[in-house]
């Protein structure tokens, strides 16, 4: 048959000899990803109207072009990127009959050149689900262990050794929840009584020690949100009322510092508030904190905002106010010297890209993602 085809093509081309040469027959190929740039954007799509089919989209923030996609199972939350971007790790959940049958959870490893699954590790079928939270999972600074938050509703953390590709341990964090990596072998969790605990792991990923902080916020009067940002060895926990509790984990200790306020009295009177999903982000190089803000009444801690205010983490002073092209619930800031500020809102498919230094709107990326959540970059 192939031979016959060649004859038939040659004949056809002969027929058209006078006019310019016809198009040549093509071979279908499969694209590969180019070299990663700091402006690559992984945008999680919870796909709320079809969350059995959650996805993570990869865009080039400089062009807005979609580069690829991962299908991430039921209740997708976010990805973990190896520090050297050698792999992408995704906690995924499946049922043998979609909404029924046997529940299986895995941590899948994807290749960063062709986005193909390279392997999976079965993990306890207990992952915390619902509204996505960045702190429902994390990766240690050296990229050795991926940490996955569990809620049954009893809380614990699953530890996966991604180098050995095996599940190591489930560490209970009773009365506490969430995962905030604090080094190569440690992470912190926030607790319902206004404290936090730091868990130290041994080299195998098992529990080595557990340290508890003093109470540093009032969980009833002014709780910190679970949406925190990391600045070096410090995690910034921001309260409903806009107070920043910086906790320094350098050297394996827990150092509490005096909270500082995002809003002065005038701004409070004008009802400025924090709010959204992942409403804050830090650019480490410039030491700047980006916060989505809005004006409104009480219980606005999940409301999207039309403005991002920028703070200098050395002086705690506001240094810029960025009016957004469209309301934002979550933001991300790329890690490079010419950072992008990227916003998403579950009510608006897609993502919006700004110059993080000037606040200039650069482009709006059309969705899907249909109900975007997490925004992450290499």
């Amino acid at each position: 048959m192939a031979a016959a085809l060649l004859t038939w093509c040659a004949l056809a081309q002969g027929v058209a000899a006078e006019s310019p040469a016809p198009l040549v027959a093509e071979q279908i190929g499969v694209a590969k990803l180019g070299a990663p740039t700091p402006h690559w954007l992984f945008v999680g799509d919870t796909n709320f109207l079809g969350y059995l089919d959650s996805k993570v989209y990869l865009f080039d923030g400089d062009t807005g072009a979609m580069l690829g996609m991962l299908s991430t199972g039921v209740w997708g939350n976010a990805v973990e990127l190896a520090p050297d971007f050698s792999a992408i790790y995704v906690p995924e959940m499946y049922y043998s009959r979609g909404t029924r049958g046997e529940r299986t959870e895995v941590l899948t490893t994807y290749d960063t050149t062709d986005l193909k699954p390279m392997g999976e590790v079965i993990i306890p079928a207990k992952r915390a689900t619902g509204i996505p939270h960045r702190a429902y999972q994390g990766i240690t600074d050296d990229g050795r262990f991926v940490l996955i938050d569990n809620m049954t509703p009893a809380t614990s953390v699953s530890v996966v050794d991604v180098v050995a590709q095996k599940f190591v341990a489930e560490i209970e964090i009773a009365g506490c929840n969430l995962v905030y990596p604090t080094g190569n072998r440690s992470f912190a969790s926030l607790c319902g009584d206004g404290t936090l605990q730091q868990i130290e792991l041994d080299d195998h990923g098992n529990l080595k020690s557990r340290t508890r902080s003093e109470k540093f916020f009032d969980p009833d009067k002014d709780p910190v949100t679970e949406k925190a940002s990391r600045f070096g060895d410090t995690w910034l926990f921001i309260s409903f009322d806009g107070n920043v509790h910086a906790v320094d984990f350098a050297g394996g200790t827990i150092k509490l510092t005096k909270p500082w306020a995002l809003f002065n009295d005038v701004e409070r009177k004008a009802t400025w508030k924090i709010g959204g999903g992942q409403f804050n982000a830090v650019h480490n190089q410039t030491g700047r904190l980006y916060v989505i803000v809005h004006q409104g009444g009480p219980y606005g801690h999940k409301e999207s905002g039309k403005d991002v205010w920028v703070y200098d983490l050395a002086t705690h002073k506001g240094v810029a106010q960025i009016p957004l092209a469209s309301p934002a619930s979550s933001i991300g800031v790329t890690k490079d010297a010419a950072p992008l500020l990227v916003t998403s809102d579950p009510a608006m498919p897609g993502a919006v890209v700004y110059d993080a230094l000037t606040g200039a709107h650069q482009r709006t990326i059309e969705g899907p993602p249909f109900t975007p959540a997490s925004i992450q970059s290499p």
Binding site: G130, T152, A174
Partner: protein
């Protein structure tokens, strides 16, 4: 609600400090179900129960509106728009025995009531009447008061379909 919340955090922490992990998980599992489920019936009885679809006499407003008083801390699809009601799951869905709890004021009698926001589970998203109100909502490290959490726990699957707003009783300030 404070009494409940304090009991929850203190209680679980106390257990955590004095027991092994496995022992802990089993016991806290029970303890927490106990906590959140105190005012609820076991699932078996719940499913068998007649479901009062109409609001009670001393209520007013539209149960299918996000502004309905009971929904003051809800986050999800109203089951009343999905084939159920404010206090019943749609056909074939399974009520979660564990849940988060809010306190809402009934405009008719001016009283504060404890509202249990049981999720209905086992079918994927209903997609109708999405509401998000956060009065008294707390972060997920205070699970019993957080509406971000998928409360399809203790059900056959953790597949979320819609949310209810069930009156448990009067709230008493302590």
């Amino acid at each position: 609600m404070k009494w409940l919340d304090n009991w929850f955090t203190k209680g679980t922490r106390r257990i955590a400090r004095n027991t092994s992990r496995r022992d802990f998980l089993s016991r806290v599992g029970v303890a927490m179900v106990g906590t959140a489920a105190i005012p609820l019936l076991p699932v078996a009885r719940a499913s068998a129960a007649e479901s009062p679809r109409a609001p009670q006499p001393a209520e007013e407003g539209d149960p299918l509106s996000c502004e309905y008083w009971r929904h003051c801390a809800i986050d999800g699809y109203l089951c009343g728009c999905c084939g159920g009601s404010a206090n019943s799951c749609p056909p074939g869905a399974e009520p979660s025995p564990v849940t988060w709890i809010g306190t809402c004021r009934n405009p008719v009698d001016g009283r504060d009531y404890i509202i249990s926001y049981n999720d209905c589970c086992g079918k994927s998203a209903c997609g109708h009447c999405l509401c998000n109100r956060n009065e008294g909502d707390r972060p997920v490290y205070q699970p019993a008061k957080s509406n971000d959490i998928n409360w399809c726990h203790g059900t056959k699957t953790n597949i979320y379909h819609c949310s209810t707003s069930v009156v448990l009783g009067l709230a008493v300030a302590d």
